[in-house]
């Protein structure tokens, strides 16, 4: 159970405070309700490029990192399909530096040309390092494009192609800032050895007069139901064939979400899971096999990915996966099996609450989703799932036609050994 207090400033900024007296540090998390799903199809990768620019100086502060480091602080940020999250940690007696830095870049960026020029290049190198120069690096780009025809989840956060990043202009940067970076589109979470009144005073002092920017509600085209199976095969210079099967699933606030998550646990979380025991250990059909959720706020993907063992074809591999998914549809899981995956979820939540920064990030992302209080009710949501619901959700999830299959085929060539 995480106790927190929450209020909203006059300009629309939500402020959340969680007190944790066991740490000498404080985490400050500013989460903006903007992600790659808010991008124009011809300007993908923009939300993430923008995250880089947020470190290139703000209206009154030419350098972001140096003053933070002077206060003993450390920071980072990430962009997802749904949100952009900035977080820093500081010794508790230096938190005002965090308020100063974060509020100034919410107020206005420096919009420096040299920062844009350099960060375009840095992001292009990041694109290469993570996606183009890595074996299997383009899997998510391919899978998203196959599974989504309408929804902006069809492109990855890094962007659809490098040219979109190369072409970003300063005017687009400015437009993006004023459209999305605003107190009424953000959450400020402070966690650590602090009290609510002090945080509120500091929040009002530094963030209070940033103008409300009347951010428009997003209108994102939702993906229509997929009714026919889709399949794509690509040949790449990788050591092993791999199969990916993606099913459209419920959105993050749908009650079915929790059952869906537990289905992935029954299938592949831990050495006792079904797919690991049956298909990796007993039948030796795969050397790696996983089921997981893409974790998006809008309806996301339930993905099964597997590397077949030597000599096992992708067809055999696919039939084996389908067999396990069919079993989920046809038979109820046992009470014991469901209890086991619930125990594990509960333990993982307990582990994640050991760290003040983790707690700050979870509060922030849940508030952006809908309500920070979700982090305290999630155990009950998971606990209340029944074996009948698991079966029902599996029948809906794994229905014929809801699947996109990506066959990732290894080009046979000599490997350079060393």
């Amino acid at each position: 159970m995480i106790h927190f207090e929450r209020t909203k400033l006059a300009n629309g900024l939500t402020v959340i405070v969680h007190q944790d007296k066991t740490t000498p540090m404080v985490a400050i998390d500013v989460c903006y309700n903007v992600g790659s799903r808010d991008e124009h199809p011809d300007r993908t990768g923009f939300a993430h490029l923008f995250e880089h620019l947020m470190f290139g100086g703000s209206k009154h502060i030419p350098l972001y990192d140096e003053p933070l480091q002077k206060a003993g602080g450390d920071n980072n940020a990430f962009t997802s399909n749904d949100l952009t999250n900035y977080y820093l940690t500081l010794p508790k007696n230096n938190i005002e530096t965090g308020f100063w830095l974060e509020s100034d870049r919410m107020l206005e960026l420096a919009f420096s040309k040299s920062s844009l020029d350099v960060q375009r290049n840095v992001v292009i190198e990041e694109f290469k390092q993570r996606n183009l120069n890595q074996p299997y690096g383009d899997v998510w780009a391919l899978l998203r494009q196959l599974a989504y025809k309408v929804h902006p989840y069809q492109w990855p956060t890094i962007g659809r192609e490098i040219s979109h990043i190369e072409k970003a202009t300063m005017q687009q940067v400015k437009d993006f800032f004023y459209a999305h970076y605003a107190p009424d589109n953000a959450v400020l979470v402070v966690a650590g050895d602090v009290d609510f009144d002090k945080v509120l005073t500091l929040a009002n002092r530094w963030f209070g007069h940033i103008p409300n920017r009347a951010v428009k509600q997003r209108a994102i085209p939702q993906e229509p139901e997929q009714t026919e199976i889709r399949e794509q095969s690509v040949v790449r210079d990788v050591p092993n064939d791999t199969i990916y099967m993606a099913y459209h699933m419920a959105d993050r606030l749908d009650p079915m979400y929790y059952a869906t998550d537990l289905i992935s646990d029954v299938l592949s979380n831990g050495n006792s899971s079904r797919m690991y025991q049956n298909l990796v250990q007993k039948e030796k059909l795969f050397t790696e096999l996983d089921a997981y959720l893409s974790g998006d706020n809008d309806p996301g993907l339930f993905v099964v990915s597997g590397k077949p063992s030597n000599g096992i074809s992708l067809e055999t591999a696919r039939r084996a996966i389908e067999r396990e998914l069919d079993r989920m549809k046809q038979e109820r899981v046992s009470e014991y099996e469901l209890e086991k995956v619930k125990n594990k979820v509960e333990a993982n939540i307990e582990y994640s609450e050991m760290n003040y920064l983790n707690k700050a990030m979870n509060l922030a992302t849940n508030e952006i989703l809908n309500d920070a209080g979700l982090i305290n009710s999630q155990v009950d949501f998971y606990r209340s799932v029944t074996t009948a619901q698991i079966q029902e959700v599996a029948q809906h999830l794994f229905r014929h036609g809801n699947c996109s299959v990506l066959n990732y085929i290894a080009k046979k060539s000599e490997h350079v050994e060393s």
């Binding site: 990192d65 002077k70 290049n121 190198e125 120069n133 990796v280 125990n343 350079v416």
Partner: protein, 425 residues
């Protein structure tokens, strides 16, 4: 009136509360070091054996032996083990590095009794079933092939071979054929030689009270798992006389770079001051390397320098991945940044920034049970005590720009560095 142009007053970090690990001995002599801290009902226990690659007679033996510890014991099959740990939401983390083999567990305190009962059987009575071994080897082969496609892996391998010589255990020389040479008897023999009470220490962190210590005594304190002490083999380092190496990887659009040299050990009088120098050079986001090569030139997503202290050798390493077209200018800028540290005094402002940053890191290293245990292990591995951190703080607070420049002149000479680039030419 709010002045946004100036930073709010910064308070120096005066006090760092170092919660220290306490020590107990089990009846059989195993030292248990424990840190009682944290608000959650969570316990992490590390069983650390002198069973790293240093001790193996063939490639892969140390790591496969370690991995097999959760694949079957006298009382539990691999499936039973998975079932139990999953049911209680507990985790086994198995790793082997150059010097040690680790059997680490994380559990909720309320299930620790059961988890330790099982763990005892796994550690003391592993059976190395043939079937599970074959599955594991197949899995690791595929992982090996995947890793070998990455320029950073190819680069790191070659780098360790160049630095240490191919026959030294710190050199990574695994080949695909090695997997076919492994058999059950080799692993069993390694297990019997190195996984026993005479070769073990325990580090426990989280909510550790007398009852946890009593459980450790019950399950691991007996004389039933003593082995024979084995003299550690000795190896000599034989670095490659050639300083620059290229590893070809066709079709890559980026290349990986590793540049490094041998470094002073943790007990050397210059160690702490050098840590400040290396932070300025490439050890944090505002470092010289990051500022120049990422933030000004945009050649890379990231570049850094850090010191790797192993039991018998330490080295400094600079790592990055850059577009193929930026290799030459990147190497030139790295050398230039060394030269600059040797010839120009670091400004007061930069030195203050780094000092404050490192003091903040110090606080983080002593915050929470797992961090506390990690900071303890970082000294315990080298037979050092907490005065190491007192020294570090004292040096950090008093170091001058003159000292930094003098150290750069002594330790950052580009001609001493080995350079490996992996990518397509």
């Amino acid at each position: 009136m709010l002045n946004r142009n100036i930073q709010p007053p910064v308070n120096p970090i005066e006090h760092i509360d170092m919660v220290k690990a306490e020590k107990r001995l089990l009846s059989n002599g195993i030292p248990v070091y424990f840190v009682n801290a944290g608000s959650q009902d969570v316990v992490k226990i590390d069983f650390i054996f002198e069973a790293g690659t240093w001790f193996q007679e063939a490639n892969l033996v140390a790591s496969l032996c370690n991995s097999m510890l959760e694949e079957g014991s006298v009382n539990y099959s691999a499936a039973d083990i998975g079932e139990k740990f999953d049911f209680y939401g507990a985790y086994i983390q198995l790793t082997a590095d150059q010097n040690y083999g680790y059997f680490n567990i994380i559990s909720l305190g309320k299930h620790l009794k059961t988890i330790l009962e099982i763990t005892e059987n796994l550690i003391k009575h592993s059976v190395f079933p043939q079937y599970e071994l074959e599955v594991l080897i197949d899995k690791n082969k595929q992982k090996f092939l995947l890793e070998n496609e990455k320029v950073k892996t190819l680069c790191q391998k070659k780098f360790t071979q160049v630095m240490f010589g191919e026959s030294h255990p710190y050199a990574i020389t695994n080949k695909l054929e090695d997997f076919d040479q492994i058999n059950r008897e080799m692993l069993l023999q390694f297990y019997q030689s190195y996984y026993h009470s005479g070769n073990c220490r325990i580090i426990a962190a989280g909510q550790i009270d007398e009852s946890v210590l009593a459980l450790l005594e019950t399950h691991f304190g007996g004389s039933d798992w003593q082995g024979n002490s084995i003299n550690a083999p000795k190896y000599e380092i034989s670095p490659d006389p050639q300083k620059f190496h290229h590893v070809e990887k066709t079709n890559g659009i980026q290349s990986a770079v590793r540049m490094g040299k041998f470094w002073v050990p943790k007990n050397h009088p210059d160690y702490h001051a050098l840590a400040v120098l290396i932070t300025i050079f490439g050890g944090y986001f505002g470092s010289r390397l990051m500022t120049n090569i990422r933030e000004e030139k945009g050649y890379t997503y990231g570049i850094g320098s850090y010191v790797l202290s192993l039991k018998h050798v330490s080295y400094l390493i600079i790592t990055t991945e850059v577009g193929n077209e930026y290799i030459e200018p990147t190497l030139k800028e790295i050398t230039m940044e060394m030269k600059r540290l040797q010839t120009e005094l670091v400004s007061e402002n930069e030195l203050e920034t780094v000092k404050s940053y490192l003091l903040g890191e110090f606080l983080r290293d002593f915050d929470g049970p797992f961090a506390l245990a990690g900071s303890f292990k970082a000294i315990n591995d080298f037979g050092l005590d907490y005065s190491f951190y007192d020294d570090s703080l004292r040096v950090l607070r008093n170091i001058t720009s003159e000292k930094i420049m003098q150290l750069a002149q002594q330790y950052l000479n580009s001609e001493d560095f080995y350079t490996v680039v992996a990518g397509s030419k």
